[in-house]
Amino acid sequence: MKFGVIVFPGSNCDHDAYHVISKHVGQPVDFIWHRDTDLHSYDAVIIPGGFSYGDYLRAGALASLSPVMASVKEFAARGRFVLGICNGFQILCEAGLLPGALIRNRDLHFVCEHTYVRVETSATPFTGELKNGDVLRLPVAHAEGNYVCDDATLDQLRREDRIVFRYCDERGEVTEAANPNGARDSIAGICSRERNVIGLMPHPERACEDLLGSSDGRGIFGSLATTLAALA
């Protein structure tokens, strides 16, 4: 199995993602520059966090129009796996690969803290080794993480079991106080209808070493690796 980490001007979590794949997942991984368009040899790509294009216009808007994203759409349509983290989630929404949008945080602050998220569905290629109700401790660092969508989209996400993570407190209770950015329905991450594209605001790649305060992120990368191994 081979992973790719897409790099835009302004990406800054690309090396963290690369490190996790090479060190903890133990698989080959390449950086993919945003002007490259050949994703052929990859089984999964990660769209990392950062501030692509300086968040000009809207976070993720300009990156969603870059050459590599046309290839990512085709890659996703072929059933390959796409993981968007933070700015990556914003880019996937802007590209139309995931529904909804991420707007300025409710309190306007850039939030940079550890949060808890509850696994809402283990029925995705990214959460297969986790259980519904599991609580993960993952850091967030964003100014535009406030997930919004219309009522029809929210209904559809619920009906199709596509809300993957919700912000919660340490005990797994979803409360408004535990919602760091005002996201609708406390949504921290969702997946596509075909379940092979996921976006989340928290940073699992920054939570893979006990030294960094949490290793709960490994469950997500480990699940993806298991999915890929089963397909190989």
Binding site: R58, I103, R104, L108, V148, G182
Partner: protein, 82 residues
């Protein structure tokens, strides 16, 4: 010729920046402000003689739809200045 594009948040989408601006305006003593919504304004200068007015409008509307606005959360309005 110039295309002016106004992008505003859809009704019902929370605008925390607008709220903060409203609060600041009220701190200055302005009364009777019911709501402030923040938007974006773009001026797109068309190359001389490249497009007629109708085609310029169509092009600006397409740019607004595809790039300048995110239709999930924003509305847009285009004006053409000859």
């Amino acid at each position: 010729m110039k295309a002016k594009v106004y992008v505003t948040l859809k009704l019902g989408v929370l605008d925390p920046q607008g709220k903060a601006i409203q609060h600041a305006v009220e701190l200055l003593g302005y009364e009777g402000v019911a709501d402030v919504r923040q938007g974006k304004y773009f001026e797109i200068k068309m190359a001389d003689g490249a497009l007629g007015e109708e085609d310029a409008r169509k092009a600006a509307e397409r740019m607004a739809r595809e790039v300048l606005a995110n239709p999930v959360i924003e509305d847009y309005r285009v004006e053409i200045e000859p």
